[in-house]
């Protein structure tokens, strides 16, 4: 094994004897562009709804639940897909979230929520994790579309205007503190 590594290390550190510098630099650049493009395309594919609902865990539970809500069906047809709320938009945080999501692949392989019963039993834990995440980033995924500065309180209902102009404005509360269970059903809230 050490001999094997040493041989490769020697190949890597020696100057090229056959390929021109031009080929190596331009070829390296082109290969870099291609592999980066491929990487990003593949990662963007994991952000599509088609990818998320390819598994029955998502398709039969959460995807069914979002359909009657305002984030899926509404008068103007603007809608949020899974990644709009569950994956950060900027690259660094997206990468971090994608790495965390590898645990979901583990769960998928071992069928952690492979039945409706298992899903319901684990639901509180899963929801709790998402609430903590959204509270920590000040409901960033909500605010990607719902900008506080553009909210017209006079167009809101009395209760909404009251809550938004006080607790939300002062930063004492963030979106998710009140708007839980708006896109999916709530877990068993009686459990501690």
């Amino acid at each position: 094994m050490r001999d094997f590594l040493r041989r490769y290390w020697r190949t890597l550190t020696r100057p090229s004897a056959y390929y021109s510098l031009g080929f190596l630099t331009i070829g390296g650049f082109v290969a870099g562009v291609l592999s980066w493009g491929a990487f990003n395309t593949a990662m963007e594919f994991t952000n599509t709804e088609q990818f998320c609902i390819a598994c029955h865990e998502m398709r039969d539970n959460v995807y069914q639940e979002i359909q009657p809500t305002i984030h899926f069906t509404n008068r103007s047809g603007v809608r949020a897909k899974c990644s709009d709320c569950h994956v950060p938009k900027d690259w660094t945080h997206k990468m971090a979230r994608k790495m965390q999501a590898s645990k979901e692949v583990w769960g998928w392989i071992f069928g952690t929520i492979s039945t409706r019963e298992k899903f319901l039993a684990k639901r509180r834990e899963l929801a709790e994790r998402e609430w903590v995440r959204m509270r920590a980033n000040d409901s960033l995924e909500c605010r990607n579309c719902h900008e506080f500065g553009s909210m017209d309180f006079t167009r809101q209902s009395k209760r909404a205007a009251e809550a938004h102009s006080t607790s939300l404005q002062s930063g004492e509360k963030t979106c998710i503190d009140c708007h839980k269970g708006i896109a999916h059903r709530l877990p068993d809230m009686a459990k501690q």
Partner: protein
């Protein structure tokens, strides 16, 4: 013809009657008032629930108050009760919603429980929203008791 003979004559007559188009038009479908079974009536457009947070009059003292706001997509099942997230006793100071009355804590023997009685858990069994600008769908001759007392006093 042997098997036909076993079916009662009245049944044969009734089935013939049901098949007659004239009868079908007269037939009345209680779920679709004013339309026969064979007709395809136009459905009235859907309207939104009133959402102005104004308390409405109660027609009699024991009437469950109607809901003055939208309740679209409110979750009300064994897992969660969206109404109680504001109307619970402990949530009232923060939300300024009307806390549920003491009767909601009573079981059927009149004992007071620590939390909402299971028989009062499903709010929309009694409390309902009112649709915007809609006349009551069912006509009624109900009169407010106040009106009756005042009417009598005038006489």
């Amino acid at each position: 013809m042997k098997c036909l003979a076993t079916i009662p004559k009245g049944f044969v007559f009734l089935s013939l009657l049901l098949l007659t188009p004239a009868f079908a038009q007269q037939a009345h479908d209680p779920l679709r008032p004013g339309a026969g079974f064979a007709e395809d009536p136009k459905t009235a457009p859907l309207v939104n629930a009133e959402n102005d947070d104004k308390k409405r009059v109660r027609s009699y003292a024991m009437q469950p108050p109607t809901i003055p706001h939208k309740t679209d997509n409110y979750q009300l099942d064994r897992f969660a009760n969206r109404c109680m997230m504001c109307h619970a006793r402990t949530r009232a100071p923060e939300t300024q919603a009307t806390p549920i009355s003491i009767t909601h804590y009573m079981d059927r023997d009149g004992n007071f429980l620590a939390d909402v009685s299971p028989r009062r858990y499903f709010c929309d069994q009694c409390h309902v929203v009112q649709m915007e600008g809609q006349p009551p769908p069912v006509r009624s001759t109900f009169r407010d008791v106040d009106e009756i007392i005042r009417g009598k006093a005038r006489k």
